[in-house]
């Protein structure tokens, strides 16, 4: 069982002063799949992510990751177990170059990050690996560009490269395509498809064509609760999903 599902939640609940943003959610993410979380605005998707990565404390419920109970862990420790997230608003280190961005992640993996007495030139041996990762996401020519100066779509790619540097087992992507133009969307979608060969991916996305093309399985949340789960083709036929999310006119 634990082998089949990399992440499982039981009765996951988050209450904000009487308001249930997430209520009694049981989620099972199959190892190696691309799992999409969709739902109308305010359904509790981001809150779910925050609970899974421990940025919020659940009010009730249990989270199992690789068969281990991580409900009480600190966010940094969850990340160390290979469960890494991206943010709804792009998260990079703006004044570090792309290479340095990736290197910071590599550095965590390989220790020495408390060494204040050594020169940072010891970090240079990460450079090759960092370049390799940048190359993977198509950012080779940006290696020495500070992240602030990169276009939006490239920042998202950089974020993914940084996440990959941690060699995670599972990635949580929160609206990776939000606010992107069409070309960028295609690029990132292709990238996600590519890396999904190696990692498990749980993502939130409003762009239906992306969801349709990428995801193996979709969970629909409304009002903090799971409404339905299944493949895209099944869900588009589900009246409840149509009403709550897709809208009446959806083909």
């Amino acid at each position: 069982m634990a082998d089949e599902f990399i992440l499982e939640t039981e009765g996951l609940t988050k209450e904000f002063a009487g308001f249930f943003a997430v209520r009694d959610v049981a989620l099972k993410v199959r190892r190696g799949s691309i799992h999409a979380l969709i739902g109308p605005n305010g359904a509790g998707k981001t809150t779910c992510f925050n609970l899974l990565t421990k940025f919020l404390k659940p009010s009730a419920g249990k989270i199992l990751y690789k068969g281990q109970d991580i409900t009480a862990m600190a966010p940094a420790d969850v990340a160390r177990m290979g469960l890494v997230r991206s943010f709804q608003i792009s998260a990079v280190f703006p004044h570090l170059t792309a290479l340095e961005n990736v290197r910071v992640a590599l550095q965590r993996q390989h220790g020495s990050s408390f060494d204040f007495w050594r020169s940072k030139s010891v970090l240079n041996h990460f450079n090759d690996r960092a370049r390799e990762l940048l190359n993977d996401v198509g950012l080779s020519e940006f290696a020495n560009t500070p992240a602030v100066e990169m276009p939006y779509g490239r920042k998202r790619a950089l974020e993914i490269a940084t996440t990959l540097a941690l060699d995670p087992e599972m990635m949580l992507l929160d609206e990776p395509m939000a606010g992107m133009g069409h070309e960028d969307i295609d690029k990132i979608a292709a990238l996600i498809k590519r890396i999904s060969a190696k990692y498990t991916i749980l993502m939130v996305e409003h762009n239906l064509s992306v969801v349709a093309n990428l995801s193996d399985i979709i969970t629909v949340l409304t009002r903090g609760q799971v409404l339905a789960q299944g493949h895209y083709s099944e869900l588009t036929k589900d009246e409840r999903v149509k009403e709550a999310y897709l809208g009446a006119g959806h083909a």
Partner: protein, 248 residues
């Protein structure tokens, strides 16, 4: 059309006259030159959509009209009055209202306060009952904190609050971004109703599918310039071009 007539019947001025005229508009953020001479017109009572890729300058165009960008030049005529030098509070009081991309719901205000925040600038705005008619959700949530609303409700609130003010010219910046399909449909209906009420709407959209359901005319923005424009009727003939412009 003489100015006095407009002042008397602002909301109902849907007689097809030219209400906004933008000529040679240029704008800067600090050192970076973003708009390089924008030219377009909006007629009273129509819905005009600006299309374009990320970073083309659509938002910047709206902000320049509204007077909330550091430096701009050229001419923007609203009801034949040049407003390029006016401050944004003056422009608002002339009857232009702006609903920003990021919605701008205030978290320290509850829904009612958010709704009542913009001062009434002229007679002729929608009364509250009519607004609640359009957005029944808001009526139920009047006392909750503004930012606790779901994304879609926030978007409704953002639109609702500028309808009260009596401004007859609305600028909506990507009202559908980040919204679920079901809510996008609702917003489409709302825009159609507003048009019927006599409002003039300048819309910015990435979501072409949505825009095509509401717009009368389109302009395409690229690199801070208007590079093309056509009406809804000419749409089919222009689809190929649109593909290359937008990469749809």
């Amino acid at each position: 059309m003489p100015e006095t007539a407009i002042a008397e019947a602002p909301a109902k001025a849907a007689t097809g006259g030219n209400i906004l005229q933008v000529r040679n508009l240029e704008a800067w953020y600090g050192e970076s030159h973003i708009l390089h001479g924008i030219n377009f017109d909006v007629n009273a009572g129509e819905v005009v959509t600006l299309l374009g890729r990320n970073g083309a300058g659509k938002t910047t165009t709206l902000k320049s009209i509204m007077g909330i960008i550091g430096k701009r030049s050229g001419s923007v005529k609203f009801n034949n009055q040049d407003i390029i030098r006016a401050t944004s509070d003056k422009i608002a009081r002339m009857g232009i209202a702006f609903c920003p991309e990021e919605r701008g719901i205030f978290s320290s205000l509850d829904v009612r306060e958010n709704l009542l925040l913009p001062p009434v600038v002229r007679a002729g705005g929608l009364p509250l009952e009519q607004i609640f008619d359009l957005f029944p959700n808001l009526k139920e949530r009047l006392n909750s904190q503004g930012t606790k609303l779901s994304g879609g409700e926030q978007q409704m609130l953002a639109i609702a609050r500028i309808l009260r003010t009596g401004a007859s010219f609305l600028m909506l910046d990507e009202p559908t971004e980040g919204l679920a399909p079901v809510i996008i449909q609702q917003i489409g209906h709302t825009i159609a109703r507003l048009k019927k009420e006599g409002f003039t709407i300048l819309l910015v959209e990435q979501n072409f599918r949505f825009a095509s359901t509401v717009a009368d005319r389109y302009y395409v923005v690229e690199h801070g310039k208007i590079i093309d424009g056509f009406s809804n009727a000419e749409l089919a003939a222009n689809m190929d071009k649109l593909h290359t412009y937008l990469g749809v």
